[in-house]
Symmetry: D2
Subunit: 336 residues, 4 copies
């Protein structure tokens, strides 16, 4: 059960609602986001929702049978869209394209990527400055200095930034230089990180865990929302299966299922989803056809020289072709 | 190594080629299909292919580094297309749509399905008469009598038939009444069945195993080809994963990978691939966008009353809408 | 619901029971095994079982809530044991050891294996004469001639034979020369084969499918039982997972779960379960400790020269050590 | 390549070794643990190790072909054992038993558990005070206050404490009250957490990821070691598969494989490994038989009232029986 409170609700009224909910068998959690105040009620008993609905200070009240509540589409029919400023919007009847290198490497690389994206009308650039690597001896990214350099160049070009945050202490360091915090597949269930991102006034994109279920992804989003941040995106990036012909198995099914279950925008990552450069295009197009609100993929001026993930990275010519096709697919999908 | 022989090759010449191959470290298997005669050479040594190439009776010779040979695209650049007669062709720059019920139930059902498909210009009807069922107490299909009834009605309407064969003894029983034999996901590695289907002059569609790899699917096709039948189709129908929100996980990656690795047509089965009626459409469209040569899906006049698989079966209205969209997606894909 | 009928039941009495069951909402299937006659009732309604229990001709009646019925332990508290003759019994408070090569290769190999097993007091020898191989160009086994040769040598030594049957037509060919038919992991859901093995008077060991569930394995056994053959064994042989450090993942959990759910003996196959020779021993010992009634593993006089599966095959010295330890583990388990 | 340096090595000598390694094509990382100083060399070229071996300041030098280095058994033949003080040692020819509740709940519970364990001669108690929960609305543990209470009671009884740390900031908070930090399955690849635990003078047990590979587990341990902490334990706790009859699939194969690949002790967690109370015992016994150095399992005075994981928790009577059997199995294994 989700009870949306009026912004001006009196404390006594709120307490009365909490007490009444308790009497009806529901434990409530107060959720204050930057936009609204909610009481999320967890309980099992069926009751006539009107017993609560008439109480003072309630703006709206919904039954939500899903175990995740705030991210469920059962109470919020209007789909969430995120406004990153400067006319860059995710999820509102537009196709979001986010592209860039796996790792931020140097100024020349960043500028070349920005030039490529600007020429294609792409407004969001991806790139890693903190890289999660299986081996402690591998390249771990340029860190915050790299991010600042990138941010300076990106702002000049009106480009928005999405970049992975790996731990709580990085949130503050990165905060002023990113537009979207990305939670990587190895951190999908890093609940402390999710909690902290709930206290941030920036958008957060959560990637599905390496072998995470769709339900777990929704629960992870619920963590961020319940801690106060409604600006959420979900990302399908492939799951781990027994198949060895591809790096991961992009779960195309997850796209329409997520679109049905949540009001949050759904992004697909074909680069990690298949992991092989020559197949990124068909998988990206398929994901949009299946209903994705956007794609995030890796591109680099010279993939064979990239510091990481070169084998799944498009060069700019391939990227240009992909962007052109993505837009045609999206247009067809919206105009069937 | 694949050596295509001239049809008129003299026995002595053939023996000379076999002997020479052996001397070069290659064990050869003679493959006589209804169309050509090949020697498939298995070995490891590198050698100058011209040592063989000049010999009498050789039409063509190819190195194939894949472990599967005859189904590899490495020697056959032209994609295979199958002519089912009456202008029904699979894989030749057309989108193949195969639809129909999970199980053939009765004459009325068959006729209504045919009427629906004819109205949509669909020429291939699917349906099961032998049903593989986990439980021995479940409905196992109408058998050959059902197939004969279906065949009579289908022929009147110019409709082709694809139906699953479960064991060797059914091949002869079904032969005159089907246009395409389907090998189900539980029989992908039923090697005796594959061998026997290699001796048949009808097309064969092999479904990927329930947790089969892409490579295993290609090997299974190699069995049929090596036993003499080149009329082959492959079908991606979803794999078994840990995810419980869908029945199977349609492996969208498999579609471009198969199209790269083999010259055989690739069909997608979104009904089994996701297993939930309301999501069949987006998954089907995505599969075509990813490069599938066709789709096979379940439709029934009243899905909620279907003898099996009703939960993943479209009604005729949904089917009609899907067909319309599929064609638009295919048209876009072919004209990017 | 399982109704065990008296052997001498009158036809009219049986019909009365079927009619009464139907009136109570149950569809019955008559199952005649070589040992008993049952009516298996499938239905959903709860009713007082005494409404049937008093009827003439009923020997016993049980409610079984599992979807599989005859193989469930819910109606048969006594565990099944199989008597192969000559004092060789499986599942009756003894540890069954079955060992031998992956493939039967020649007389010398068979004789050496028999000598090794006899010296260790092992009474059941495994070996393949029909080999399921992914590639059509690989060694497919010696066939029935190899089996006959093996049978002659085995009988002289009092050795029982277990060997894989791959298709219906092989059942008759193999029948006189095997003591246990093995159904391989690729045929676990070859329902026609299971049906036919239900009509045979020999024991049948069903291996779990390559990615089969525990429940599917029980259903496959139900097929054989329902077709008339109660002489059944189940085999855990590892499942397919994402892990690449081993060939398969032996599901140790499956052993106690199967022992709880069914009255049939449970055998473990550590050779396929891990697929690496040096680790076969610890996995075999663990499986017995977890409750297995026996193990089946691969041994060969010279594993590095074996026609197939050499990488997971023990030499005779390793085999001897394993046997000795297996018996100690079993003794401990039975005497905690 | 691992170069163990003499503790007293001169800076100039160290620099000379680094320079020479670089000239030979190896990038070195200096690793200072609380016990030794190493240079870990990453490179591909083969060279005569004696070219380095004679240099001043080198204590020992080893080639390690594995991609993980410091945790590999290729350079350290002696197995690691951890001394927790007061005669509590892990991994040195003794069986380590760690037991206790999923969550620390209150003083009475802790005291009862301690009494139970003391009576059985168990010296390490497990318990969670920070609980990772899929849902933000679930019980998340008593936090550091609970840990302090537990620590007070445990110290009186000479009991050691293992407890999960979920984020970097908790390390300092927990440090004085735990003997072993546990890294949970959702944090196996939380590389920042691993880095920080490398700077701690307490033992660390790393659980395998929910769908982590054996290799990834070894890499995660390499992180901690490379950051300075050699006091490491690994834990197999089941992986996520398609099977639904158990919560996870305990990978019994992983135990002998890990024992072969690393010098670190290997612990098994049968509670999470199967997730069903009645089957914890056979799986625990099997894990020890397969070579585990210890087990960690959940026990509670009243499992049905436990705050979390009750369905997989043993009561004290079951726990007592398990401990008795575990010791017999271990004794048999060590004395075959």
């Amino acid at each position: 059960m989700i009870i949306q409170l009026q912004p001006s609700i009196a404390t006594a009224d709120k307490e009365a609602i909490i007490a009444k909910s308790k009497a009806l068998g529901y434990k409530t959690t107060e959720v204050k986001t930057q936009e609204h105040v909610y009481l999320v009620g967890i309980g099992k008993k069926e009751f006539d929702i009107r017993l609560l609905g008439h109480m003072a200070g309630i703006a709206d009240i919904h039954r939500v049978s899903d175990d995740y509540k705030l991210v469920s589409r059962k109470w919020k029919v209007d789909r969430t869209h995120l406004d990153l400023g400067d006319g860059v919007i995710i999820g509102d009847g537009t196709l979001s394209i986010m592209a860039g290198p796996c790792s931020i490497e140097n100024e020349a690389q960043v500028q070349q990527t920005i030039d490529h994206l600007v020429a294609q009308g792409v407004r969001i650039m991806r790139g890693g400055v903190f890289k999660p690597r299986s081996s402690p001896y591998a390249f771990r990214g340029l860190g915050v200095d790299g991010l600042k350099m990138w941010h300076t160049l990106a702002r000049k070009a009106g480009m928005k930034i999405i970049s992975e945050v790996m731990q709580v202490s990085q949130i503050a360091e990165m905060h002023d230089y990113v537009d979207v915090f990305q939670v990587g597949a190895r951190n999908t269930q890093n609940f402390n990180l999710l909690d902290e991102l709930g206290r941030v006034d920036k958008a957060v994109m959560i990637k599905r865990g390496i072998s995470g279920t769709i339900e777990e992804l929704l629960y992870s989003a619920e963590y961020v929302f319940a801690a106060g941040n409604e600006k959420l995106l979900l990302c399908e990036r492939g799951i781990r299966t027994y198949e060895r012909a591809s790096r991961n198995t992009l779960d195309i099914n997850a796209i329409p299922i997520l679109k049905e279950k949540t009001h949050l925008p759904v992004i697909a990552d074909p680069s990690h989803g298949i992991g092989i450069r020559e197949y990124v295009e068909p998988v990206a197009l398929a994901a949009v056809m299946a209903g994705a609100d956007g794609v995030i993929y890796e591109t680099h001026q010279k993939p064979e020289e990239a510091a990481s993930d070169g084998q799944q990275t498009l060069d700019f010519k391939e990227s240009e072709k992909l962007i052109r096709k993505l837009r045609k697919v999206y247009e067809l999908r919206e105009n069937f």
